[in-house]
Amino acid sequence: MKDRAIPKFGATLLRLFIHPMDREHVLAAFDDKFALVCEREGWKSAHLWFWAQVLQSILPFIKIILIWSVEMFINYLKVTLRNIKKNKIYSLINISGLSIGMAGFMVFAFIAGTNFHADEFHEHAERIFGIVVQSRTQENDTRHSTYISGPLLPTLLNEYPEIEAGVNIMPAGRLTVKHLNDNFFEENVLFADSNFFTFFSFKMIQGDTESVLADPFSIVLSEAAAEKYFGSTNSVGKFLTINKDIELRITGIFKIPEGSSSLQFSMVISMDSAPAFGRELDNWEFAGYSAFVRLPDGFNKDDLESQFEVFKERFIPDSEDEIESIYLFPLLDFRLESNYMSTLMLNTMKGDQYGFMAIGIVLLLVVSINFTNLSTTRYMSRVKEIGIRQVVGARRSQLIRQFFGESFIFALLSLPIAIIFFHIFMTAYAITFLPDARSTNFFTEHTYVFKYVLKAALGVGFLSGLYPALFLSSLNPVAAFKGTPIRSRSGIVTRKMLVTLQFVFSVILIVLSITLEKQFDYLVNANLGFGRNDVGALQIAGLKEPNITRLKSDLLQRVDVISASISVNVPVWWTNEMGVVSENGTINRSMTFDVYGVDNSIVETLDLNVISGKDFGEDSYKQGNVLINKAAVDYFEWANPIGKRLKYGGITGTVIGVVNDFQFRYVGNPRMMPSILYVDKQNPNYLLIEAQTPSQLSSVSGFLKDNWNEYSSDIPFSFLTLDNHFNDKYTYINTLAILCKITGGLAVFFSCLGLLGLVSYTVERKTKEIGVRKVLGASLYDVTMIFLKDFLILIGISYLISIPLSYWLSDSLIKLAWSRYNTDIGTGTFMIAVFFTLGLTLIAVFSQTMRAANANPVDSLRDE
């Protein structure tokens, strides 16, 4: 008899695919037929028959399951939509809350995602690598750099045929473009091999991708550049005059994805034209190129790298800086991981991006909590529905599924609205502070934002459904019908915790945004060791010598100008690191200094203080004399620095004076950089002009603009004040503050919503109590205090958690990011956060309790 039963394994398998309701009888049928076949044709063929049956039956069974689950889903959808219709205000709050939260998350996901997914738009991006050279400088520093010499790549391609393709590019530095009668500077211009546009996947709007750079003296413009010079993108075939007399033919127009490309450039010139710009192509000594290679599919880059040692020995000539190794760096890692090397690729700090993502996720948490709060508030009115479902036989798992289904449906309904909000926000508002939002089509270029937000929606659906599903499904149906659920106490406690958590998030975000704003203000007014509010910088790169002297003396004759000084760069965000050692010094290892090329009047122009020794002056103004700052003296531990000799970049300088500490570079550097000021006559790029008062800078600028033609006919006029320049450079802090403020505002809004729900719920539950109290003679004040006390404790707890936490977070953030120039967070910040949230709490509590307290006690007591 036992042999007549279907195989156990087969039965188990079938069970998987049959709905529990039908399992028994379907298996019975299998058994029956199996026995029949067994009798007729024997055991063996019965087995054969059985498995054939299983194979044929599984598909129909799966179909049935699918139909079932679709029907279940449709049922949930119906119930949910019915609920949405029935409680319009509740649903409106819920859906708008969820969509605002998700839209906010999208903004952060966009900011971080742009960096996480940078350069992925290139075809075969995962197989493209940049060539990086690790070298040891004369001062014994290790340097990683993507700047290599020109012949390296061709030699490499020649030696290793397994490399699929390679492209050489070279930043062209600053070029002057002449158009009509005006001159413009162009900074982001590249020379590139002819296969540049086939190697990378930049979008070509006009021109043939294969051949745009094939001929010498061809130039390809970005859409923006074409519009700047010709007013339209239809400019192929026209000519552009660069550096006075080089005529380049425009062969194509490309579009560059802003933000998602780490390689940013406005024009590309064919590499063959480089000699006309004074660039040597076959010089092993000149490391100005960057090269990328593409490896075949499945090829391990380590296999190639291991051969580079030999390659290096054979081909690379000895140079001043000894090359230690050559390695390949993945294109996709440049954005987040290349901070340690010098490269032309755009990069950013990984931590910042995770920070953005974290703020977005906090926002999602806040809206999820909000959803939980609201749905629990409404739980009273749904108790009967749940009770009936339970009575007619819904199992707990089904109820759980139903509530999850509901929250998922809410989340998914909010998704399209969130996308619309996001789009409106980005196009209308974010362009004012987010450069990447400009000229971006989110629907085609940044599709990952949608992937993130879909995941976010599912996450929100899960989180928001979690508490209602577990809590509401565990109701006792009898209690449900009585209307006073037994477990409501634990429900209240959980909700109180959730609201507290929301307030914690809110306070943290408020404190963070205020701190960032203060930090920005602080930096704008920070004393960086030099006077900058009365200084402007005029671009004079390319100006011929007699004109520079004439310009300078003309300026000095004006009453509103105190002094003028020529420098290599603008002393804001100016970094020029070099390894420095002292001659005959005790310390042999080199130390990274900032080395600045200036002229003899820099001390006067920037109001530096000479602490000891003397200023450059007219007589000591000769090559080889340097000023150092106090940090440098401290580093070398010199008692008497005057006359000491320093070696930097192959030059030896004699210290003639010490000035106070100053900070030309980005202020985030954790230590005061020891710096050297030397006289540089080779690169007069800027003329720094100090006016009598900050307001007179505009008259100086006006004078220069009007008379610019007397000094130069082919250099564009460009003047900026150091203050504006500084604010531009640091404005990202403001951006951060704005984003934090918006998020904080939303968090506060949702916290108050949650609080409002909680208050109204408590008030509702205590209506009778209030009635009794009022009958017994309680005043309005007494009644209000009953509730207020509760919520004050609640919000007090949230302050106890959030204030130390937010202090610690903000403090460590600004100390980490702007080490020595950080503002005091101050008690004021917390006062603002506390007053703001407390005020809103009071409004929420009063608005609800007043109604209950003012009600006639008869109404609340009558119904029993």
Binding site: M1, A5, I6, D22, E24, H25, V26, L27, A28, A29, F30, D31, D32, K33, A35, L36, A52, Q53, Q56, S57, I58, L59, P60, F61, K63, I64
Partner: protein
């Protein structure tokens, strides 16, 4: 009244003809013998399930029998709606075939 497919029609007719002995296996055998349809159990069960949801069938669980591994066989019966559906189907077939029959008799 929801229309039914040919397979569903055949199944309903099988159940009708099998009277009180209509269950998965017997229906399957009946379809094989009378309509020449060789179907897997699953392929018979799917339309049965559909018909049940359309309320053309009622079910009756038999007593668990040792013959089928101690499991209960489920018997199917037609409901009035089921018979109604068959009638409607018959009418459709009749009206569709009318022309065909006339043509044959003319020739």
């Amino acid at each position: 009244m929801k229309p039914i497919t040919t397979l569903e029609e055949n199944i309903l007719l099988s159940i009708y003809n099998l009277k009180d002995n209509a269950y998965l296996v017997s229906i399957m055998e009946y379809l094989h013998e009378n309509a020449g349809l060789k179907l897997a159990i699953g392929s018979v069960f799917a339309p049965l399930d559909r018909l049940y949801k359309k309320e053309y069938l009622t079910v009756e669980n038999g007593s668990p029998s040792p013959k089928v591994g101690g499991r209960a066989i489920r018997y199917y019966h037609l409901t009035d709606a089921g018979i109604e559906a068959l009638r409607a189907r018959q009418e459709v077939i009749n009206s569709m075939w009318t022309g065909f029959n006339t043509m044959r008799s003319e020739s």
